[in-house]
């Protein structure tokens, strides 16, 4: 290992702020191209980062929802995942020799997607969307008997209605990959600075470096901010006027457990994306370890805390929907991390107005998977070559619109119903599904009225906004400036006008 003093350069051609998947894969891409000196700045603990908490499913089809291919913009985003998927075999080939886990970095080669009845109608339509997408992109899948899935042993009341096997979509050991990457980069001469950047340094509208919390400055010809959910605040240290699409912390919780008996899972087993989150999943880690994930909760402040409700959610539903025997598994690690969630749901990738400053973040729930592809794109841009992804993800764009307000209200209702049923609501004569639907619908219509915006938000942002005064203020302020003027909402949005989609 490089000594501490040698680890602290005062200068590098490129300074990368953030030691998550995006920062490390970018550094790897550049070192492989023989580009100049690189310093990666980030605390070795990475407390609130996402990458080391990730399930690291290499999922694009398993992540498909009814929204994924509905608009051109969503399709472009979806195809990032498809393209990223092809990069992984070579990535793993190049990393395996630096791994010290004693297990393959590809911890599961394939995925089973399970449709059970607990997640509401949302599960069914997303399950169908997965199949349709697989067919459209000519990818292999097969309907299988759920009894044939190793490890899968749900309780009777949540047994599978239908199950499909995705033979080419698996998962990697996120923590193993991050360690191997770091080892590889150190060997290639990349400097790791175990510190937190307090602000970006600029002069005459050119970013010239970063200042660390202890006051030291590292100069760089270019600075890439890849600090996950902290990125927006860091960019603001150079100017309050940069008009970024806002980001919100998507706090997620997951656990790594040691199996205490029974058949181990050998594939990723997951539900479709559902109820504001990424679906329930188990990812084999090798060596008798299993990753159970994950919750997603948009919050006001970035932290590494775990909510009691999220512990219950994950433990109870893992036992119920994945494997009854999980009850006696030993929890070895609790993982929590913050997904960088943007207001419009699309990533933020591109140069910013002060020269020399590049931003890459906003990857939400598949940033680990997309990291090698994004690295290739950003490396090109840094080297003055044409990029490989659509320029639509520029961080200072107007928010991308993919839905009408009416559509958004329906989506919000569907997600709430899915969450309602998954969390165990009982049938009661005074609260039928249409009544529940109407309740959520009324609430959402009222929320749009109060926010006085006509940009249609995603269900997760709506859920956050309705529960947080801070969130509501941020969203409404930003949108009143950007495509969210006080024009009246479309005629179609009315209280109680029928069933959800």
């Amino acid at each position: 290992m490089v000594s501490e003093s040698a680890e602290r350069p005062q200068q590098a051609e490129l300074v990368i702020v953030g030691n998550g998947a995006l920062g490390l894969f970018l550094a790897q891409e550049l070192t492989e191209r023989g580009a100049g000196s690189i310093a990666i700045v980030g605390p070795s603990t990475s407390e609130t980062g996402a990458s080391r908490a990730a399930g690291a499913m290499l999922g694009c089809f398993g992540e498909t929802t009814t929204e994924s291919l509905r608009t051109d913009a969503s399709r472009v985003r979806f195809e990032l995942g498809v393209a990223a998927h092809d990069r992984w075999p070579a990535v793993l080939d190049g990393l395996e020799e630096f791994s010290r886990t004693g297990r393959p970095l590809l911890s599961a080669p394939d995925t089973h997607v399970v449709l059970n009845s607990i997640g509401g109608e949302l599960d069914t339509v997303n399950y169908q969307a997965i199949r349709a997408a697989l067919d459209e992109y000519d990818k292999p899948w097969q309907e299988v008997d759920p009894h044939d899935i190793p490890g899968f042993n749900p309780r009777l009341d949540t047994r599978s209605l239908s199950t499909m096997h995705l033979p080419t979509e698996g998962a990697v050991d996120a923590r193993g990959v991050m360690e191997a990457l770091e080892r590889k980069l150190r060997a290639a001469g990349v400097s790791f600075v175990d510190a937190t950047v307090s602000r970006l340094v600029s002069s005459d509208d050119v970013v010239t470096g970063v200042e660390l919390e202890d006051g030291r400055v590292i100069e760089g010809q270019n600075v890439v901010v890849a600090a996950g959910i902290q990125s927006e605040a860091l960019v603001r240290t150079v100017s309050e006027d940069i008009d970024l699409v806002p980001t919100f912390p998507g706090l997620g919780f997951a656990m790594i457990a040691r199996r205490s008996g029974g058949d181990p899972f050998r594939s990723v087993v997951r539900t479709p994306n559902r109820g504001f989150a990424c679906g329930l999943h188990v990812v084999p880690q090798g060596g008798g370890l299993e990753y159970y994930g994950a919750t997603n909760r948009l919050v006001d402040t970035i932290s590494g805390v775990t909510w009691m409700a999220d512990v219950r959610f994950l433990a109870q539903y893992s036992m119920q929907q994945l494997d009854e025997r999980a009850a006696s598994h030993e929890v070895l690690r609790w993982l929590s991390g913050n997904r960088p969630v943007t207001l419009d749901g699309f990533p933020l990738i591109g140069w910013l107005p002060p020269a020399g400053l590049y931003l890459m973040t906003g990857t939400y729930r598949d940033g680990f998977h997309c990291a090698p592809l994004l690295a290739e794109h950003v490396a090109n841009e840094l080297q003055g070559k044409p990029g490989i992804i659509d320029p639509m993800f520029s961080p200072t764009r107007e928010p991308i619109a993919t839905r009408t307000v009416e559509w958004s209200i329906n989506e919000y209702v569907e997600h709430n119903l899915a969450a309602w049923f998954e969390t165990g609501a009982e049938a009661a004569p005074q609260m039928t599904t249409p009544q529940l639907t109407e309740y959520y619908r009324t609430r959402c219509v009222q929320l749009y009225d109060q926010l006085n915006i006509d940009y249609a938000l995603g269900p997760d942002i709506l859920w956050y906004t309705q529960g947080s005064l801070r969130g509501a203020r941020r969203v409404s302020r930003y949108l009143r400036k950007h495509g969210g003027t006080s024009t009246p909402r479309p005629e179609t949005a009315r209280v109680g006008s029928g069933d959800a989609r």
Binding site: Q450, L451, Q466, L469, A472
Partner: protein, 89 residues
């Protein structure tokens, strides 16, 4: 002339949300709005309209339900924020 003091504007904004006047209710300064029909969403709308009308940004610490409990508590928060704005100038 209309009364342009903070409490009187606050009352007007509350009334836009909760419609007390139309129902003949005389709102007292320490009436608990949460007992009188305020919900998280009307509170949200009230907060946005207060900030817009007074052209202030309430500090994050006061963005909580208890701030919006009474005419008095809202007035206090608004006046403090207005003083902050003046101090900056």
């Amino acid at each position: 002339m209309t009364d342009a003091s903070t409490p009187s504007i606050v009352r007007k904004l509350i009334d836009q949300q909760l419609n007390f006047v139309a129902h003949g209710l005389q709102l007292k300064d320490d009436d608990n709005l949460w007992d009188l029909g305020m919900t998280s969403l009307t509170c949200l709308g009230l907060m946005l309209s207060i900030e817009e009308t007074f052209d202030v940004e309430l500090p994050e610490e006061v963005l909580k339900e208890s701030t919006f409990r009474t005419v008095a508590s809202i007035t206090e928060a608004v006046d403090a924020a207005l003083e902050g704005v003046l101090a900056e100038r």
